[in-house]
């Protein structure tokens, strides 16, 4: 048996402290998870509202935009609550938990902005518009691309991921616009997506999920180009003067 004066190999406080830290960590995750569930549900609502754009002619889009803005406002509120709790911990410690949901919210904002919504006092809405990461941040009321401060924010990677989702969604919208008899919008989408594609091509992406998804942009570009080709082949492309 060991000497009574010998404290032994392990100071028992070590493992007590470790256990407490493990438990604290689990509790924080639990707290965050509650907001993420709410965000997930709200995200589904926002996306189903935005999906109506595929079957709605541009002239009747306003009710869709208004409804989308309303569900985005719900998401913004949850993001605010999430940000408050998340800012008690190092940002990148739990960032992986919410990045997906945040990307969905950013996409909803980008899509709604492109359709002609998300106007702010200083920033009037206009169809075909790309909201910058700073604009998205001010809509969400959170900082973007923080480097010198450890707090909740929107990262460049998240914004870029949402841009890719926007491109995918616009490729679908280009097809559905034709179905709706709108031959003008595919041309606008084509220019917009090509401009974004050119932007993505100057990025030096490493072998990560951003790289894999951005590799798919070209297929969407091609899909949209094919639509424009089909339209021009049949002389369906509106003349620049004739367009509203």
């Amino acid at each position: 048996m060991a000497d009574i004066n010998d404290p032994g190999m392990v100071n028992s406080k070590i493992f007590e402290d470790l256990q407490k830290k493990i438990d604290d960590d689990a509790e924080t995750r639990e707290q965050l998870r509650a907001f993420l569930q709410t965000l997930e549900r709200q995200g589904r609502v926002a996306q189903s509202v935005l999906s109506r754009a595929h079957s709605t002619p541009v002239a009747h889009l306003q009710p869709v935009i208004t409804a989308a803005e309303a569900s985005i406002r719900d998401e913004i509120e949850t993001i605010g609550q999430l940000a408050a709790v998340a800012s008690n911990s190092p940002y990148y410690k739990y960032n992986g938990m919410w990045t997906r949901e945040v990307q969905n919210v950013v996409f909803s904002i980008l899509m709604c902005g492109w359709l002609g919504g998300m106007a702010t006092a200083s920033n009037p809405a206009s169809a075909g518009k790309l909201l910058t990461i700073e604009e998205v941040g001010s809509i969400l009321n959170v900082p973007v691309n923080l480097k010198d401060q450890d707090a909740f924010h929107i990262t460049i990677e998240e914004y870029l991921q949402s841009l890719i989702t926007l491109i995918e969604e616009l490729a679908r919208l280009a097809i559905n616009s034709v179905t709706l008899g709108d031959y003008q919008r595919p041309l606008e989408i084509s220019t917009f997506v090509k401009d974004l594609h050119a932007g993505f091509q100057i990025l030096n992406l490493k072998n990560d999920s951003l790289r894999r998804r951005s590799d798919g942009i070209k297929y969407n570009v091609k899909k949209i180009e094919d639509i424009v080709y089909d339209l021009s082949l049949r002389n369906l492309v509106p003349k620049p003067e004739a367009s509203n």
């Binding site: 493992f15 470790l18 960590d25 050119a198 932007g199 091509q201 030096n204």
Partner: protein, 258 residues
């Protein structure tokens, strides 16, 4: 390179390249991402270097045969030289791991830190025959490098493997367990094992820690079993053991039967 439709006229091509109104924004993103990837690469490289140096320190320390006494000068010098070189590398990478970036590159640096903890915990055990505390471990890291509880814990798990090797080699070469006073290494291994086994990580089952702990727990238990088996062999066959005979480390566990 952006895919710009080339025309026969070079200047027009230039004009077209500037057509995308989003270029300035993407240029900012490119610079930011480049910076991030460079930083990440530097952290990965340092982590690998620290891992390699820590392993060498552990190898050197495995040549020590005593417990709770000074490390032989030759080994101590090798260990110190490597440790101070490593210290410089860690100081150099510290700015990349400052502030918000501590956790951003945590997964990249984690491997190196765990191996380092294993090395300093092993050295600490040989010198003091106690388990190094988180505070003592942090003190051996540059102050700007954050030691997470996870890395500390996972480093300790690996320590049990080194203690097993140290115990078995000492048995093989000296015919007895490393010990000082009334306490030998098997007592220590068992008390560490008990602490590990009492730790409840079910709450972090979905995270990296939960999975790592599960894997390492098994290896740790096997390490303790190996030493127990070796001590059994020492007791039962000790007197018959020919000089220089080395127990087989891959020996199957002895099944208890009654």
């Amino acid at each position: 390179m952006p895919s710009i439709k080339r025309t026969h006229d070079g200047s027009e091509k230039e004009k077209e390249a500037n057509l995308s109104p989003f270029m300035p924004m993407f240029e900012t993103f490119r610079d930011e991402l480049d910076e991030h990837h460079d930083r990440r690469e530097r952290v990965i490289k340092t982590s690998r270097d620290i891992t390699a140096a820590s392993k060498k320190i552990i190898f050197a320390l495995q040549r020590v045969r005593t417990l709770k006494s000074d490390i032989p000068e030759k080994i101590a010098k090798e260990v110190d030289d490597r440790a101070s070189a490593m210290q410089k590398q860690m100081e150099a990478i510290a700015p990349d791991l400052a502030g918000i970036n501590a956790w951003r590159y945590q997964r990249q640096i984690s491997g190196g830190i765990q191996e380092y903890i294993e090395a300093i915990a092993f050295q600490h055990y040989i010198q003091f025959q106690t388990l190094i505390t988180p505070t003592e471990s942090s003190a051996l890291l540059p102050s700007r490098i954050n030691l997470t509880p996870d890395d500390y814990l996972l480093g300790l798990f690996d320590l049990s493997g080194e203690l097993m090797r140290y115990a078995i080699t000492t048995i093989a070469t000296t015919g007895g367990l490393p010990k000082s006073g009334d306490r030998d290494i098997l007592v220590d291994l068992r008390s560490v094992r008990a602490c590990f086994e009492a730790l409840d990580t079910t709450s972090s089952a979905g995270t990296g820690l939960g999975k790592d702990v599960q894997k390492k727990m098994e290896v740790m238990q096997q390490s303790v079993d190996k030493v127990e088996t070796a001590v059994y062999g020492l007791i039962i066959r000790g007197r018959e053991r020919p000089k220089g005979w080395v127990p087989d480390l891959k020996e199957e566990r002895v099944v208890e039967s009654y």
